[in-house]
Symmetry: C2
Subunit: 339 residues, 2 copies
DNA sequence: GCAGACAATGTAAGCGCTTGCATAAAGAGT
DNA sequence: ACTCTTTATGCAAGCGCTTACATTGTCTGC
């Protein structure tokens, strides 16, 4: 049914009156071929509308110039944006991106990794460090270069190009403590299997402890990373007595949910309740009031991750981990506590 | 460097003491193999951690159970959502999705189509009908099943599973005319090469003409599909004298941009200016005021497109086009004109 | 004019899988 | 007991490309 009549390299070779080897060289290493032959062959390629068969190429060359990425979800714009930058950088170097998502499930992640490797990915980009040993064993068995992003851990099984989630959230929490907030509650994504979520909550605790506060009593609601779940979690936290003056959320999506729930209850943000996010997606600037959040350097991270991973693939070396800087974005969703 | 030691079908065959043909059958047609052999082979597969090599498989079988989709952009959540549904439906049938984006550029779209076909896509999903004849010629040359979504045209070169953009926007425009709006302006995405954009503007003109209004004088600003461009276009239209009482936008993203610009200028929406969108993405319900818009049945469309395309691939028939219904979502961003 | 070096091209062996066909084994029917 | 099915398995030919190696042609420099 499919590709009834796609021209093959043999057709091109015949039409240009050369061997298939020469056609292959014209496509992959033109400098090895005489000008005259090159033109003739490229003419034949054009006339036939020839496109090399990817599978055959992958099989013969044992590389695909394809890189796989397994991200937790496409739903959150922050990953979409980061991948966009990653993809653009790959494209400049002649690589193609294959994306799969794991829905924050380690089992699915392992499956997706296998699929991508089976599809011939020359290297992999993964998010965060927290995954089963078996997955790491698989990667090292197969000798597949892999890089972690979105997190930074100098001692991880894989090298990383990311930022320090803990320090970033600590910075934000410090700022909030300076504004006088003491009744703090947290809405976090599920922490199991998600080091970014764990580190962010950890950063808040760090800041509280440095202030001499009891971080053990910090109310933390874990939920899925979507607006409705964020709203529900916000509701549960607001029902506490006394209610918090500040809600720190694991990402902007949860914060938007919290904002909505606060509005539904007639609370004014930031006068009655301050809310913070994390990621700095476009949404953070569009909601009313705009969200105070942590800006994640997604473009820089994507670009650098691409360069680094390509380096690993082409030179076979393990790179030094890179820690990028995040920064605070102070906007209207927070204010100081009334004295 | 890559896949130093991935086990092959030969390794499995040796370990299970059968031929490679039997291993292949265990994986692809288990009912053709005796229970005993099946178990032995599957055990070997598990022990070795064997994953079939995709490229080899594609080459030998000349099909990949992969479907390609070329969408205008990943940035707009409406495509992301629609693809999500498409992908889920494909997955149920054992197919995998490969996505590429064209940035609304017909040349890039043609490239991406070639790439996907070169990668062995068994079929393609494309958005809209407006593309060069050469692209259609390529597809029919190669006998690649392809389906159009997001638009409906009974006479298109390809069959479609979509909705009537013109009728949908006409419905919204009718409603706005009933509310008394007469000074209407439009913010549209670029119309060249984009039948959806063209049809939506056409739908507004239809409604106006049916009301006896001069559709020729309708101010239309074309711009890129992003928030900033929408805001800028909104600014240009508001500078007209007299300014419009209603801004109809080609999609929700543009409408959010318009909303922002109106706010920046101190105009109250909907009291001073009504604004409408199109698509009904999540954002439409989150902005203040929430957007009146047209709900696109993206989930239904994605699911049905998947079924239809798989049908085309597996039976080789050309299906009847399907027209789905869109519906209005009336929210706070519009109000009747003061008498 | 000729050895030596280099550039351009061809030859052919796979890469890891699927599948048509041949073969072998096991029942079924008479 | 013997043939005829039916079922399970093996054999081996590709699928369309890349690339190591062999071959041929073209200059250099002496």
């Amino acid at each position: 049914m499919t590709q009834k009549s796609s021209p093959t390299i043999d057709d091109v070779a015949r039409l240009a009156a050369v061997s298939t080897a020469t056609v292959s060289r014209c496509l992959n290493a033109p400098q090895k071929v005489s000008q005259k032959t090159l033109e003739r062959v490229m003419g034949a390629v054009r006339d036939l509308g020839y496109t090399p068969n990817f599978a055959a190429r992958a099989m013969a060359a044992n590389r695909t110039r394809t890189i796989g990425a397994v991200i937790p979800t496409m739903e959150n714009a922050i990953f979409a944006r980061g991948l966009q930058a990653f993809q653009e950088a790959l494209h400049l170097r002649g690589y193609t991106l294959l994306v799969a998502s794991s829905a924050y499930d380690p089992t699915r992640e392992a499956e997706q990794i296998r699929t991508l490797v089976g599809r011939g990915a020359d290297g992999l980009l993964l998010i965060g460090h927290d995954r089963p040993d078996a997955t790491y064993a698989y990667l090292s068995d197969r000798d597949v270069p892999a890089l972690v992003s979105w997190a930074y851990d100098a001692d991880g099984a894989l090298s990383s190009v990311g930022f320090d989630n803990r320090a970033a959230m600590r910075g934000l929490a410090n700022h909030m403590l300076e504004l006088g907030h003491r009744r703090i509650a947290v809405i976090s994504g599920h922490i199991a299997g998600n080091d970014r979520a764990a580190e962010r909550v950890g950063g808040i605790r760090d800041a509280m402890m440095a202030c001499g506060l009891d971080a053990g009593g910090l109310p933390v609601e874990e939920c899925d990373y979507d607006i409705d779940a964020g709203a529900a979690a916000c509701g549960r936290l607001l029902d506490c007595d006394p209610p918090p003056t500040l809600l720190m959320c694991g990402n902007d999506v949860l914060a938007v949910g919290a904002l909505r729930e606060a509005g539904r209850r007639g609370l004014r943000v930031p006068d009655d309740l301050s809310i913070t996010g994390f990621d700095d997606i476009e949404l953070a600037r569009i909601v009313v009031p705009p969200l105070t959040t942590v800006h994640v350097p997604h473009r820089q991270m994507g670009g650098l991750a691409a360069e680094t991973l390509i380096g690993m693939i082409e030179t076979g070396t393990r790179p030094d981990p890179v820690k990028l800087d995040s920064s605070l974005r102070l906007r209207g969703s927070v204010r100081a506590v009334r004295p």
